[in-house]
């Protein structure tokens, strides 16, 4: 039976106080992380997933942090979206990340949901992956083999998604944190999205990052969501911008190459055709805003 009022599936819960305990509990087949539950509970209610055990990770002190260390912003898996978007360091250094978080749900959703959950849910249209892609974020994964303490490894966020609703995570592995290098001077980033109404999931979203050298684009990174099975980078546009001088319709020309980099489909939120047409406009706007934030004139 599927109902949005009650949950008919039975499962057990674990409320670990220590990371190690959580990791051990997750090694068993059928165990799944519960963070804010804003995606997971809906999926359980519609019987899309049937966990036998939920391991609640909010409240594990080792995962509950937002810090700046070694030139990187590090966001623990138990940090709430609302804490991230109001964090002073994040507000002053990552305005585009704040914008991408701020469009997610209403206040209540952001008071419950996590950044790690937004990644792990692996929706092709999720709002934080594009900006994390262009900011060169890394995902730290951890797990335990039992008795040896927590094992950890780090990978670029671009390598994290393997398909719609699919990530590299194996049973027992969790996202420990997401880290982002502090952006250098003369750089800027921006986020753009289109949705039917403000509370809706995006039809399409995109983020741009530019490192400026005087009036030329030293480096550009662009990423889009909801245009392919996973969020994607746009290497064709990036190459077209490398080392180019600003002006003369540069961003418009480059943005029009977006079709080379995306493979949108028709679905409930939009059509492939509309997404293709609107993608270049969003990319152009994001590039323009990133350029402005990098201190570029024009």
């Amino acid at each position: 039976m599927s109902s949005t009022r009650v949950i008919s599936v039975d499962f057990e819960c674990r409320i670990p106080r220590k990371l190690e305990e959580a990791l051990e509990a997750l090694n068993e087949e059928g165990s799944q992380v519960l963070a804010g539950g804003t995606d997971l509970l809906n999926n359980i209610k519609i019987n899309a997933v049937k966990p036998s055990r939920l391991v609640y990770v909010l409240g594990i002190p080792e995962l509950e942090f937002i810090s700046v260390e070694g030139g990187r912003l590090i966001v623990g898996a138990a940090a709430l979206l609302s804490d991230i978007e109001h964090n002073r360091q994040v507000v002053s250094r990552f305005p585009a990340l704040v914008e991408a978080i701020n469009v997610i749900g209403g206040t209540q959703i952001r008071n419950m949901a996590t950044l790690a959950g937004n990644l792990c849910n692996a929706s092709p249209g999720a709002d934080t992956p594009p900006i994390l892609f262009v900011l060169d974020a890394e995902v730290e994964i951890c797990w335990t083999n039992g008795g040896t303490g927590a094992q950890r490894s780090r990978l670029p966020v671009g390598g994290f998604f393997t398909g719609p609703k699919k990530t590299v995570l194996k049973q027992g592995q969790i996202v420990h944190s997401v880290s982002i290098p502090l952006p250098p001077e003369h750089s800027g980033a921006a986020f753009r999205r289109l949705a039917r109404v403000s509370l809706d999931i995006a039809k399409i979203n995109c983020a741009a990052y530019i490192e400026r050298d005087g009036d030329t684009v030293h480096e550009a990174r662009i990423a889009l969501g909801s245009v392919a099975p996973t969020p994607v980078r746009a290497p064709t546009i990036e190459k077209a911008l490398d080392g180019r001088r600003y002006g003369g319709g540069l961003f418009q020309e480059a943005a029009e190459l977006v079709e080379e980099d995306i493979a949108p489909i028709d679905d409930v939120r939009s059509t492939a055709e509309y997404r293709r047409q609107i993608a270049s406009l969003l990319v152009r706007e994001a590039l323009q805003e990133a350029w402005r934030r990098s201190g570029g004139k024009g």
Binding site: S3, T4, R5, V6, I7, S8, V9, D10, F11, E12, C13, I15, L34, G37, T38, L41, N42, I44, K45, L54, Y56, L58, S82, G105, G106, T107, Q108, I109, N111, M112, S198, L199
Partner: protein
């Protein structure tokens, strides 16, 4: 398997045994008899089930009861004080911000979370705070006015007390 938890709702402690899959909304309504919190969509979209958890607005339809163990929950029933309505409740009545009333408990709790941290919000901040609360009757204008009126009232009361 059941888990022993304690819910602190509107200042009162309720020791309970809950199953892992019990939803907070249902525990509040069906086990504690607090019917003010409403079930609208059950999927996080309407905000009718909004309650405050340690002062922050959250959705009780998307929370498992065990995750609220030891936390302070405020429902609409917890707002009146010694028989008099909270300034937000009074302002919603005075400004005609209630029609069918189904969205009202959630709307007022979202507004309370806002005013508790920002006593003097702009229209934009009010709209942002209630973006996750749908009202299918009023058209929102009166709701926004009511929240402004309540914010004035609360500031006035604060001034009188000091």
């Amino acid at each position: 398997m059941k888990t022993a938890i304690t819910l602190n709702v509107n200042g009162k402690e309720y020791p309970l045994e809950v199953k892992a899959n019990e939803i907070l909304l249902n525990v509040l309504r069906d086990r504690l008899g607090l019917m003010g919190t409403k079930y609208g969509c059950g999927i996080g979209e309407c905000g009718d089930c909004t309650v405050l958890l340690d002062g922050k607005a959250i959705l009780s339809c998307q929370s498992l009861a065990f995750t609220a163990d030891g936390k302070k929950i405020t429902t609409i029933e917890g707002l009146e004080h010694n028989g008099s309505l909270h300034p937000l409740q009074q302002a919603f009545i005075d400004e005609g911000a209630v029609q069918c009333g189904y969205c009202t408990p959630g709307m007022i709790l979202s507004a309370k979370a806002l005013l508790d941290t920002k006593p003097d919000p702009s229209d934009q901040e009010i709209k942002q705070a209630i973006r996750g609360n749908f009202c299918r009757c009023t058209g929102y204008t009166n709701i926004i006015r009511a929240i402004k009126t309540a914010s004035e009232k609360i500031k006035d009361q604060g001034r009188k007390q000091t």
